[in-house]
């Protein structure tokens, strides 16, 4: 077999090593490439093209599996050693929601001809950019605040059900937002830190609602086209494109949630802060009572 084919094979393998995490690649890419080249040359000398195929059949699954394990280890180590993941997670959620919004408009662009929708979408994109920046830069983007915000997401579908699930879910959302700020104040944090945590929690939850709405409408577009309830509302709206109507409706809920979330975050953050202060005062009194004389 041609020596150039062996070299080309090694170059392809070297290129695939870019899928490995940087630290591992820096340390071992060159010896790995060298070992692969030695192996290929030996197998090709023994068995010709079949030897080359055999080398790749062994190398590819090994590389894919090894890269996955290396990445999993790298991410786990980064998560353990860093406190910045909540900031990235919240911001990434907002960026993903903005990306889905753009995708939905690219797939179903009929609404873009309507000025009121155009302004709403542009405003929503600007708002999501702002939310991403706030979640990324804000000090309140702690593990607890973002986790409580993410915990809100599964509650959203319950909001569309009937009594008693809907009011229970609504109350749970309020409790989670208040808890984000309350726990900060209860642990001795300042009022602004508590409000900031509640704001982050509310924004994360609102972005989660928008993201789930968009995902739901895009993934179930076919089914919604035959939903009698949706069809009746669509006919009543006077619009001329059903798909664009469905997308517009799904985005609408997210817009209200994003607009309402700062107000909710601050209001419930204040409530949480008051409760946090009471908890802190109670703990102090308890400590004083138990202190040895």
């Amino acid at each position: 077999m041609d020596v150039r084919a062996v070299h080309a094979s090694s170059r392809v393998y070297a290129a695939l090593l870019w899928f490995l995490p940087v630290a591992f690649r820096r340390e071992f890419a060159e010896p790995m490439r060298q070992t692969f080249a030695d192996l290929t040359a030996a197998r090709v000398a023994d068995a010709g093209p079949r030897g080359m195929v055999g080398v790749w059949r062994r190398a590819l699954p090994d590389l894919v599996g090894g890269a996955a394990l290396e990445w999993a280890g790298t991410v786990a180590r980064a998560a353990r050693g860093s406190t910045s993941w909540p900031r990235y997670a919240g911001a990434a959620l907002a960026v993903a929601a903005a990306g889905l919004l753009l995708l939905s408009q690219a797939l179903y662009p009929a609404n873009l001809r309507r000025p009121e929708y155009l302004w709403a979408y542009a405003g929503l994109l600007a708002a999501l950019t702002g939310v991403a920046l706030v979640l990324w830069r804000m000090r309140g983007s702690s593990t607890a605040a973002v986790s409580l915000g993410l915990a809100i997401c599964p509650l959203w579908p319950l909001m569309y059900t009937t009594v008693p699930a809907a009011p229970v879910a609504l109350s749970a959302v309020g409790v989670l937002i208040a808890a984000a700020g309350g726990r900060v104040v209860a642990r001795g944090g300042r009022l602004t830190a508590g409000l900031s945590a509640s704001l982050v929690c509310a924004l994360t939850g609102a972005v989660g609602l928008l993201l789930s709405n968009e995902t739901y409408s895009l993934s179930t577009m076919g089914a919604l086209r035959h939903d009698s309830g949706y069809l009746a509302e669509y006919l009543h709206s006077g619009q001329t494109d059903l798909a664009a109507y469905i997308v517009g409706e799904s985005v609408g809920g997210g817009i209200y949630a994003i607009l309402a979330s700062p107000v909710l975050g601050v209001a419930l953050g204040l409530l949480g802060a008051v409760i946090g202060r009471i908890v802190r005062a109670t703990r102090r009194a308890d400590t004083v009572t138990r202190a040895p004389r």
Binding site: F24, F28, P31, M32, Q34, D38, L39, G66, L69, E70
Partner: protein, 115 residues
Amino acid sequence: MDDPLSDAAFHVLLAVADRDRHGYEIMQLIDREPGMAGRVGTTTLYRTIRQLLALGLVVESERRPEPGDDQRRRYYGITGAGRKAAQAEIERLRQRLAAAEATSLAGARTPRLAH
């Protein structure tokens, strides 16, 4: 080191036990071990070597056993701790084998002479 070694780590230590070797040599030796043919690919090999380096069981060697060898090749050698870990693993395997031999299963698998 009390934890059992992984199959790949144990075989890498065996491969470098007698002299320093580079990656391809290590792979060749592992391939020749019973039941190990094709089980350790290049990525697995270097992930294992990285782990052994971190544990101090092998070291990268500057020596070139063969003069004129490709300078880009990296050679690895066993350390004192690596030797102890491999010996502990061998002892563990001996004990497991002894325990297995003591059961009726081992006897049943022994071929009997026909008369």
